[in-house]
Symmetry: C2
Subunit: 146 residues, 2 copies
Amino acid sequence: MEEIDRQIMGLLADDGRMSFTDLAKQTGLSVSAVHQRVRRLQKRGVIKGFTAVLDHERIGLPMTAFVSIKPIDPAAPDDAPERLAHLSAIEACHSVAGDESYILKVRVGSPNELEELLQKIRAAANVSTRTTVVLSTPWEGRRPPL
Amino acid sequence: MEEIDRQIMGLLADDGRMSFTDLAKQTGLSVSAVHQRVRRLQKRGVIKGFTAVLDHERIGLPMTAFVSIKPIDPAAPDDAPERLAHLSAIEACHSVAGDESYILKVRVGSPNELEELLQKIRAAANVSTRTTVVLSTPWEGRRPPL
DNA sequence: GCTGAAAGCATCTCGAC
DNA sequence: GTCGAGATGCTTTCAGC
């Protein structure tokens, strides 16, 4: 049962639009049993949703970078995520252990756009930035081991 | 037309299982026109696929870290991605500019598992590692600006 | 590139076990 | 938790513009 749920999640991670009919064939369950399991996994939040995977290079965002930030004033309250949320070029924001406080993953169209974005980040959150430019991505978003 | 494609991609990024019927209603096109556009976006590789978004905490992988790696022998050929690909805990592998050669994003179940993974990474690719543990993730995988 | 219609399938809800 | 069946609704193709 737990095993079948993992199988279903794997199949849906590989093809988020797979039909319940196909899921049923692959798992050996009936269509309605699979249907019920998927709905349950969604309700429990194990499956958070479904999304289209877009090619960043083909939608005008060929450049990726990691931006580590550190507050200028360490005594100030740390509300960087709220202050940065409006910058849609920031795909991810992780609070981290270590010398710096957050690691941001950003996508931009050009070095110029990256420069502008860094200025906006520094101004919005009152932080210093350290940027690591991605040269290529052998893989990304691989499905987790289930 | 370009504009409508972006709208479609946005809708499918937000809900990867949205029906063509709903896409047609949202965009004001006919069902078959939307259908044709989605197929074209997939064929052109702009939409690379569809996937279920899973909650890592609820599938036994509550711990995330970034692992930067650097070759022990800088003269050796750089085939780290091939050597690391079998480690399924590595969700992403980015080649980067800077002092280190790759940044890996990893997901594990516990500090113990992280320690074991780091040993495997060092042994498999003959690299030194520098690990930054993620404490929390305000957001991640946000849809790109279209 | 768009539309509308038609055939074939898939989804989703039942009642029953 | 599972099944099968049925009504509803979706997908996919095609002819026509």
